[in-house]
């Protein structure tokens, strides 16, 4: 799942690292997407748990349930948009004539 967009030819070789310059590894698109996915999943499960508790008559504030569901909704929509963009970019590159 995480590696659905891997850089062509694996990880790019570090370009002759100049001494004294700190090398920082930037996370790939796959890793970023995975983080977003995990965050969305945790928001969804929080909303799920709160609505379950509220339905069972637990001591949950009604607004907390609604806000948790709203947060889950927004992060899911964001995830879908990011996925669409990534897929569009991938297909655009695949269509490229060499």
């Amino acid at each position: 799942m995480a590696d659905f967009v891997t850089p062509a030819g694996g990880d790019p070789a570090p370009i002759a690292s100049t001494p004294g310059v700190q090398e920082t590894r930037r996370p790939g698109i796959g890793e970023t997407f995975e983080n977003l996915l995990n965050e969305t999943a945790s928001n969804l499960s929080e909303a799920d748990q709160l609505s379950r508790e509220s339905a069972a008559g637990g001591p949950v504030d009604l607004h907390d349930v609604m806000i948790a569901m709203e947060k889950a909704d927004i992060s899911l929509r964001l995830l879908v948009q990011v996925r669409n963009k990534a897929l569009d970019a991938y297909q655009e590159i695949m269509r490229m004539q060499v």
Binding site: D64, I67, K71, I74
Partner: protein, 143 residues
């Protein structure tokens, strides 16, 4: 995400206003109560609000003091002012002169406080709604 921060602040305000409404309904329910476990009539209670202190992690993440803060109920204050003295010699809690001390609650005051609590709750719901609408609008950019 900052939009979710708006929701957290709004959520704290909604909780605070719920607690406030709780104390108001307790006052209204006990407007005639003359016996309490502590002795004497019921005393008016009200919620005292304080800004929610931001977590240490939030400070570290932002690298600057956060200006937007939520609200918390610090404690429930008990008003120890004197109650209304009502002449009712037949009442079991009347003193030697036939007066009964009723709780120090003013019905009109409680009703206005209740309206303010409701208004504040609605205002915070509106803030949360507009944060949600802004997030949805931002997502429309991608379409």
């Amino acid at each position: 995400m900052d939009i979710l921060g708006v929701m957290n602040i709004g959520s704290s305000a909604l909780r605070a206003q719920t607690i406030r409404l709780n104390t108001i309904s307790s006052n209204l329910a006990n407007i005639e109560t003359t016996r309490t476990p502590e002795g004497g009539p019921y005393r008016k209670k009200s919620a005292v609000f304080t800004t929610a202190s931001t977590s240490f992690e939030a400070h570290l993440e932002q690298g600057r003091p956060q200006t937007a803060q939520g609200v918390n109920v610090q404690y429930i204050r008990t008003d120890n002012g004197p109650g209304k003295m009502v002449y009712d010699p037949s009442h079991p809690d009347s003193d030697e002169n036939g007066y009964v001390e009723k709780p120090n609650i003013n019905l009109a005051e409680e009703m206005t406080d209740m309206m303010r609590a409701r208004g504040s709750y609605e205002a915070n719901v509106t803030a949360i709604k507009s944060a949600q609408r802004m997030a949805m609008k931002a997502l429309e950019i991608g379409r």
